[in-house]
């Protein structure tokens, strides 16, 4: 049977696993997956890793590989999107208005959680908070996590009064409450691009197409992603 | 003062037996591997017997039945190890002071200077044990234990690696320690003359058992230990009393029964009962008193027994006490000696040695 290898950003783990299993069952193509930080995956592909499909958590690592001619440009597409939400530990919710007039920095004490600005969620957070005029006041109070899951854990454990995570993460946690969803114009769109890696096996093409199928879309939305039409 | 009765098994070996030390110094004597070191370890508290008890000056150090096992550091029993066991990370000075510095001045029985001087180790103070010779190590180990001022001193071949000169220096010191500080000792050595210099009291071990114990003479006369005296060349031991000192002619006169003996000058107080010893080979026999001869001691006696032993004859002569004389077959022929004859036993003054106060 054919076999393909999919490198996917860690935050897509659950969805991609399900889709891969489904694809394997339907098409008889064995799908191997490797989940890690997009940065690690990109570097591995750059070094000639035997990946057929790359699914990134943001645009910049896809651009990075694109710039190095490591992906098949024509195959690149955005699979899905996500939203940014402001969360608080369960039971510690407070009213928030995502408007410049609202004083978010004054509305809670201590630190807030997101990720370092070098990972996408960190960057989106910065953009959104800047847009709302809170960044300068909140930047020193940032407790960054290496990934969204860790950021979520800090809020779940009440270490941070608020946090900014993806809607997909907030959705599955029963220990946090969503205070508000950031308007999509307050930050660059959260997009998950996918592409064939240079030299990918022919069978990979089918999988990339399957990712755009309605079956896949159902799975994405089940996990809280916004499906891109 | 030390009383014990115990059984200690280690591997195939079992140490066993009662032992009572009521003498200032007791020599512990026995062939290699008979259990001497193990016994010392048990007394010091480093090895725990399976059964029995150990009592020191009435204090129970160990009692299997009552579950008492006083730890070593509460026993104040000093042990000079056969293989020195100096602390490799400490200088000689700190090795010496290890037990000493924790003592209150009142408890200290020696000063560092005294010990350095006696053992001639002042020049080694800053050295590490690794940079010492075998004998130097042994001396430091002895000094370390002495400075810890124990109430019982266990010495495991402390002078084995030392030259004659050093031994002659350290032994008198140990005797002073015995007499002046009244520090009791259990002294393991294969050199019987070292032991006898310190004490006539002996415990003899073999294969884990204490075969006998008591005054040297009594112990070695016991049938099962007889070989010992012979192998040591110390067959004659007498108890005598000091009657006269003549320093000008270098002579000390002692007596037993109604006999007088002339010995080399000693410092023993008059009237002191003391043990003296003589090899059987140092006894000559004559038919008549001999005049014009430097042999001072000529004691008449009766031949009890003439036995051929290998190539020589051992004569037992009764001079108030039985004395063994080892003489050649030729001499017996020439003199036509026979049992029952009266003979004079000739002993050179300097052939006797003092074993110490009785």
């Amino acid at each position: 049977a054919d076999q393909i290898t999919v490198f996917a950003a860690a935050s897509t783990t659950n969805a991609i696993q399900d889709i891969a299993a489904l694809y394997q069952k339907e098409k008889g193509v064995e799908v191997k997956t490797s989940f890690a930080a997009a940065s690690a995956l990109a570097k591995q592909i750059e070094q000639g890793a035997p990946a057929d499909v790359f699914i990134s958590a943001d645009l910049k690592w896809m651009d990075y590989l694109d710039g190095k001619d490591k992906i098949v440009k024509t195959s690149r597409r955005n699979l899905m999107g996500n939203q940014l939400v402001l969360i608080a530990p369960k039971g510690k919710a407070f009213p928030v208005k995502l408007e410049k007039s609202f004083d978010l920095p004054g509305a809670f004490e201590g630190r807030w959680c997101s990720c370092v600005q070098s990972v996408p969620i960190g960057q989106y957070s910065q953009q959104a908070l800047t847009a709302l005029g809170w960044w300068a006041a909140l930047e020193p109070r940032l407790a960054a996590a290496p990934d969204v899951r860790s950021a979520l854990a800090f809020v779940e454990r009440g270490e941070c009064a608020v946090g900014i995570v993806y809607a997909t993460d907030a959705k599955v946690s029963d220990k946090v409450e969503v205070l508000a969803t950031f308007p999509s114009d307050s930050h660059s769109p959260v997009l998950y691009p996918a592409a064939l890696v240079q030299g990918a096996k022919p069978a990979a093409k089918g999988f990339l197409e399957f990712l755009a199928s309605s079956q896949a879309a159902a799975i994405f939305s089940r996990y809280g992603f916004t499906v891109i039409k | 003062m030390l009383d014990l009765n115990l059984e200690l098994r280690q591997g195939p070996f079992t140490l066993q037996g009662p032992l009572t030390l009521d003498q200032p110094v007791t020599g512990l004597f026995g062939p290699s591997g008979c259990g001497k070191s193990t016994l010392l370890r048990a007394i010091a508290g480093l090895a725990r017997p399976q059964t029995g008890h150990i009592t020191l000056n009435g204090e129970v150090l160990f009692d299997a039945q009552r579950g008492i096992h006083l730890p070593p550091h509460h026993r104040r029993v000093g042990l000079v190890f056969q293989d020195s066991q100096l602390f490799p990370h400490l200088s000689v000075e700190h090795n010496l002071l290890y037990g000493f510095k924790r003592l209150s001045p009142k408890q200290r029985r020696f000063t560092l200077a005294q010990i350095l001087d006696l053992l001639d180790i002042s020049h080694l103070l800053q050295r590490r044990p690794r940079h010492l010779s075998g004998g130097e190590r042994q001396r430091v180990a002895l000094g370390r234990t002495l400075l810890a001022s124990p109430r019982l001193l266990l010495l495991d071949e402390p002078l084995a690696a030392l030259d004659e000169g050093r031994k002659q220096q350290i032994l008198p010191f140990l005797r002073r320690v015995r007499d002046e500080l009244r520090l009791p000792m259990l002294y393991v050595s294969h050199a019987i003359n070292e032991i006898l210099y310190l004490t006539p009291h002996l415990a003899v071990m073999e294969q884990g058992r204490i075969l006998g114990q008591g005054p040297f003479l009594e112990v070695i006369r016991q049938d099962h230990i007889l070989g010992l005296a012979r192998s040591l060349g110390l067959e004659n031991v007498l108890q005598v009393t000091v009657s006269r000192h003549e320093p000008d002619i270098g002579c000390t006169t002692v007596h037993y029964d109604y006999h007088e003996l002339h010995l080399p000058l000693s410092a023993l107080p008059l009237g002191t009962p003391t043990w003296i010893a003589l090899r059987a080979t140092d006894v000559a026999l004559a038919r008549q008193p001999v005049t014009e001869i430097t042999i001072q001691n000529q004691v008449p006696g009766r031949i009890l027994d003439l036995r051929r032993v290998a190539d020589r004859i051992v004569a037992e002569v009764d001079i108030g006490v039985p004395i063994l004389a080892e003489i050649t077959v030729k001499a017996v022929h020439d003199l036509r000696l026979a049992e029952g004859d009266t003979v004079y036993c000739l002993f050179k003054a300097r052939a006797w040695h003092y074993l110490g106060a009785a």
Binding site: A37, S39, A42, K60, W61, D63, Y64, R111, C113, V116, S118, V119, L142, A143, A144, A145, P146, S150, A153, F154, R157, G158, E159 | R41, A44, G45, L46, P71, P72, H73, R75, R76, V77, G78, L79, F81, Q85, L86, F87, P88, H89, Y98, G99, R102, L103, R128, P129, R130, H131, R144, T145, A148, P150
Partner: protein, 233 residues
């Protein structure tokens, strides 16, 4: 990228923090490490296997797991963290003190193992000799066992310091990545590796780490030579 050999303020802060955390971690781990190492080498007690296992856990699990467990235990809502805060006003999460705790937990098994090894090689007869000289267990331990195990203690401390310099997973999970507070060199390096094309700054930090480690190793060599001389080698 080498435009300046001068350290940027961020680099300086990460370096200083790493050094601080490393030294505190080493100090924190020393006592328990020595005690546990000796205990495992010399004392037979029930539950020894469990203590042994517990100590090794941080080594056998991926670092984020001990980090997460620390968060559960020492976080604001954690049983111990709660108590620490109420009783002493101590907060560990997001503070450099927390980073110290995280790397200490990760370094402990290394320290314990080294001490245990060295203690097991100490000649018990020397301890016997000390006891007959009147030294009680504590004095024997302090003056004989520990000094003779010094090479192992030193090795343990070096390993602990080194482990702390490289510790990332447990730290970031437990105390996050807060600039100036918990962003040690590994966390700063991680931050740069997440940015495409930021290899230069990352490499600078890596080199700073390496230099720091070399300096520490060099110091430890001096120490180990001293120890060897002390032990009369």
């Amino acid at each position: 990228m080498w435009s300046s050999l001068q350290l940027t303020p961020e680099e300086l802060s990460a370096l200083g923090l790493s050094l601080k955390v490393g030294l505190w971690c080493t100090a924190l781990v020393a006592g328990p490490g020595i005690l546990l190492g000796w205990l495992l080498a010399r004392v037979q007690f029930t539950g020894k296997a469990i203590v042994d296992g517990l100590i090794h856990l941080p080594l056998v699990l991926p670092p984020v797991v001990p980090g997460y467990l620390l968060l559960l235990l020492l976080g604001k809502q954690g049983p111990l963290g709660h108590w620490l805060y109420d009783m002493w006003g101590i907060t560990l999460v997001f503070t450099w003190q927390g980073a110290v705790v995280a790397s200490a937990v990760m370094a402990l098994p290394l320290m314990v193992r080294a001490v245990r090894l060295a203690v097991s090689l100490v000649e018990p007869r020397l301890e016997d000799a000390a006891r007959t000289l009147g030294a009680g267990p504590l004095r024997v331990w302090l003056t004989i066992t520990l000094p003779l195990a010094a090479p192992g203690i030193l090795t343990g401390l070096v390993l602990a310091f080194a482990r702390s310099l490289g510790e990332f997973g447990a730290t970031v999970t437990f105390v996050g990545n807060v600039a100036g507070e918990t962003r040690t060199l590994p966390l700063a390096i991680y931050t740069y590796t997440q940015i495409p094309g930021a290899d230069g700054p990352a490499l600078r930090l890596v080199i700073i780490s390496i230099l720091l480690a070399l300096a520490a190793l060099w110091l430890s060599e001096l120490g180990s030579r001293r120890v060897e001389r002390l032990l009369g080698k």
